[in-house]
Amino acid sequence: MSDPRIIFVTGSSRGIGLALTNHFLQRGDKVYGCSRGAPALNHPAYRHSELNVSDENAVVAMVRSAVRREGKIDALLNNAGIASMNHALLTPLSSASAIFSTNFFGTFLFCREVAKSMVQQKSGRILNFSTVATPLRLEGESIYAASKAAVESFTEVLARELASTGVTVNAIGPTPVPTDLIKHVPAEKMRALLARQAIPRFGTSADVINVAEFFLSPQSDFVTGQILYLGGVNR
């Protein structure tokens, strides 16, 4: 039997992050998760760090201690994200800053630290999280969409910077999945959004897990710098 994969999942306490974590644990992988609060599960192959993903010292400490313990990191899924639906002209700077801190700077920090280990291993898979709100240019989601546009651009450039190292960097753009992230979005807004997808339904955690496993697969070593949107959405 091969060694278990060592997988990092940020935002692992709720929603898609929790579903991904449970999926990997069921497969026999080891998962290092983090969130701002306490862990949502107790499993011998799961280690939790309570941290803010934009706290540089905390991220560095989490990643380095995992590398010291495991000797490698096979995959990073930068799932942690926050959203705030508001008209751009009514958005306080503090909200915009908080969204960029979690969605972009958190993604950047985990990519930077985990990739240092992956470059030395000459292998690894990084999967960042975007959203269909970016290509659909959703009104009311300007800051959220902009923060994810930054994630997309970073993903594409980092993929090229690491291309010769055996590390792939891709992103998934899920459609709305019924989780805490969208619970405050009005129902009519959600219906209008779904209507703009080629397949007009909510996504599920299983849809995201399917794409994640595709990007994490050893056979996907020729796939990098890609942004894959669910639901038939295009840029």
Binding site: E56, N57, V60, A61, R64, K116, V119
Partner: protein
């Protein structure tokens, strides 16, 4: 043949150095890891402090050693 001073203090990064940018990434990542192992400290070598200096601490072995000692100090 290299002059004796160059052999003692080889350039790490720049036109005269053997390392490209990925080579530097590998060297710094490895050094950060070993510092953590040896001294139990999680340092980030490519910090704002390092990048804002007019003379890069990554230019040669002596400057990198000096900068690392400073961080651990």
């Amino acid at each position: 043949m290299l002059p004796p001073t160059a052999a003692i203090n080889p350039p790490i990064f720049g036109p005269a150095a053997a390392l490209d940018s990925l080579g530097l990434v590998n060297l710094l990542a490895d050094l950060e890891y070993r510092l953590g192992e040896r001294f139990g400290r999680d340092v980030v070598l490519a910090s704002e402090q390092a990048m804002s200096r007019s003379r890069s601490p990554f230019r040669d072995l002596d400057s990198l050693t000096e900068y690392t000692m400073e961080l651990l100090g």
